[in-house]
């Protein structure tokens, strides 16, 4: 990429729930055309961080961090403007009310036309159609959200994020319920999107999935960043053991891709 400046910069983000400090001075950058994996055990603050970056969770005070998007103060933008730039993609969609998959995807347009009267229906429909084709869920369009499987709903969620028109996707366990076919397809999609200059953050408990696709990794432990850099350099046995001290983990390269993979060593004793 010719543009050297990072797309999103995260500076010194701190956050606490009551007295529990969840994030401590976390800083890193997201570049165009890269997938960044955010890894860490449960409770290390990954989801909280994604919500803060997207502006869903407000910072507790002006000096508890800053998010800059293309050099501007991102959190000072209006809610719809934020949703147009950075899309937080949740692990699931709430399906309390009867809504079809197509209607759910159309909701991604709300940040473009919050007003009922300036929406241009046909263009919006075409956009939603394209996004659902892209995310392999066009055949589900007439189905009710609650009749879909978890993995299918996640494809719909991805399509909705695409409709938002954002250039940065924050995937919060968004691939967790997909079967291997869908995961592989989603992986290809993410690659395609970053080749168009998008930037993607991936939070996943599936370390091997994350290391397969991510160009960079950020390791979080108890709210602190312990490492950030290219996947091949960052994922080492020592770091992974520091992150997950319980099981005896081993990192070894994948036989054909050479990407670092995490294995259980001896189980039990």
């Amino acid at each position: 990429m010719a543009d050297a400046a990072p797309l999103v910069s995260i500076f010194g983000v701190c956050f606490s729930y009551g007295k529990n400090s969840v994030l401590r001075e976390v800083s890193f950058e997201l570049d165009r055309g890269k997938i960044t994996a955010l890894l860490g055990p449960n409770g290390s603050g990954k989801s909280t961080l994604l919500k803060i970056i997207s502006g869903i969770l407000p910072l507790q005070s002006p000096d508890s961090g800053q998010i800059r998007f293309s050099g501007t103060d991102f959190l000072s933008l209006s809610a719809p403007a934020r949703a147009r730039q950075i899309a937080y993609v949740p692990a699931d969609l709430l399906a309390e009310f009867p809504l079809t998959a197509f209607e759910a995807v159309m909701m991604g347009q709300i940040c473009h036309h919050p007003n009922l009267f300036n929406s241009s229906s046909q263009a919006e429909r075409d956009q939603a159609h394209w996004a659902m084709e892209e995310c392999l869920c066009w055949h589900l369009r007439e189905r009710d959200l609650h009749s879909l499987s978890g993995g299918e709903r996640q494809l719909v969620t991805l399509a909705r994020a695409l409709v938002q028109g954002a250039k940065v996707f924050l995937l919060d366990e968004t691939l967790s319920k997909m079967d291997l076919n869908h995961q592989a397809a989603a992986g290809k999609l993410l690659r395609k999107w970053v080749s168009r200059g998008y930037s993607i953050v991936l939070v996943s408990h599936d370390l091997n999935l994350a290391t397969e696709w991510a160009d960079e990794c950020v390791l979080l432990k108890q709210g602190e960043k312990i490492a950030w850099g290219p996947t091949r350099e960052i994922i080492t046995t020592e770091r992974i053991r520091a992150l997950y001290p319980g099981p005896e983990l081993i990192v070894a390269p994948h036989p054909s891709t050479g990407m670092p993979k995490v294995f259980f060593g001896k189980m039990g004793s």
């Binding site: 997207s54 869903i56 949740p90 309390e96 009310f97 759910a104 709300i110 009267f117």
Partner: protein
């Protein structure tokens, strides 16, 4: 939802409303009544039932999206009771007895109770059922306070007040009813312009934030409008339950949940159902009259129970 089938739904609902209105005007104790008398007595009732039914259905739909809970409605959440408490207080304090005054104090009662529920819903760990229970308890508290107040102040016409508390459209007068209908149409329109925000709120608070909705601000605005609607409904017809629950549920089944289509159809069905319920209340046990709230509860409460148990079964 295809345009043509949507059009058919609207056409059907509107024809049913017209049919309900004609039935309400024609059908009664004495069939050979003076036509002028019919107009004086029944026409205002039909207009008021149309307005209140519309208001209750629109308020129910809005509350369900606001709290992301398909079991919400003004009556079961206790907001109607809060509104009734407001009007009883208003009357007893001698603030105003005219129509606008009554509507005003009803509105403040509704706003106060909705605000309380909103604060409860913000507490971490509050789920759909706790919110609902909190609403039911607020309702109990409200009706006890109303009873207490009426006992203490020895209000005149206590019999009439009790009837009104159970939902009663018989006090309708042509000017008041027409005024209520006009304002209600306007308010329903204003809520309708927020259709897209309401759609986003169906995905929950976080889900709406993800879509770029300033949730707190939107909720405050919608709570204010819903409270005005409920205040107007209660000052016009007392506490009428379950219309705001059953109608949105039924309409969402028919045409889905996008509010741009759902809200208007809910409004029409709400009007139709209350006009029919009021006709039933007038004629079922003649020569006596039932409060219309009794009719809606007789139909609505079992349906509510069924919906709740079914939801639990699904979960």
């Amino acid at each position: 939802m295809a345009r043509t089938s949507l059009f058919r739904h609207y056409l059907f609902a509107l024809s049913l409303w017209v049919f309900a209105c004609i039935t309400a005007l024609k059908f009664g104790v004495a069939t050979q009544l003076d036509p002028e008398l019919v107009m004086q007595l029944r026409l205002p009732r039909v207009i008021l039932a149309t307005a209140v039914g519309m208001g209750l259905a629109v308020a129910g739909t809005t509350l369900q999206a606001l709290f992301t809970n398909p079991l919400c409605e003004p009556y079961t959440l206790g907001i109607s009771t809060g509104s009734a408490l407001g009007s009883v207080l208003g009357i007893s304090l001698g603030l105003q007895v005219n129509f606008a005054g009554l509507a005003g104090s009803s509105f403040f009662g509704a706003l106060f109770f909705t605000g309380l529920l909103y604060l409860i819903s913000l507490r971490p760990g509050t789920n759909n059922l706790t919110l609902l229970l909190a609403g039911v308890m607020l309702g109990f508290l409200g009706s006890s306070l109303v009873a207490l107040w009426m006992a203490v102040t020895d209000a005149n016409g206590i019999q009439g007040a009790i009837l009104w508390l159970m939902g009663d459209l018989s006090r309708a007068r042509i000017y008041g009813a027409t005024f209520t209908l006009t304002v209600m149409l306007f308010l329903a329109y204003v809520v309708w312009t927020h259709s897209r925000e309401l759609d986003a709120l169906l995905m929950g608070e976080e889900g709406a934030l993800v879509l770029g909705i300033p949730v707190a601000q939107t909720r405050r605005r919608l709570i204010l409008m819903t409270s005005i609607i409920i205040g107007l409904c209660v000052s016009g017809g007392g506490m009428i339950g379950f219309v705001g629950l059953i109608i949105p549920h039924f309409v969402r089944r028919l045409i889905g949940s996008l509010h741009i289509n759902t809200l208007p159809l809910c409004a029409i069905w709400g009007s139709t159902s209350l006009v029919l319920a009021d006709t039933a209340a007038r004629t079922l046990v003649r020569p006596y009259e039932l409060p219309v709230g009794v009719v809606t509860a007789l139909v609505g409460a079992p349906l509510f129970l069924w919906m709740m148990l079914k939801r639990q079964g699904d979960a």
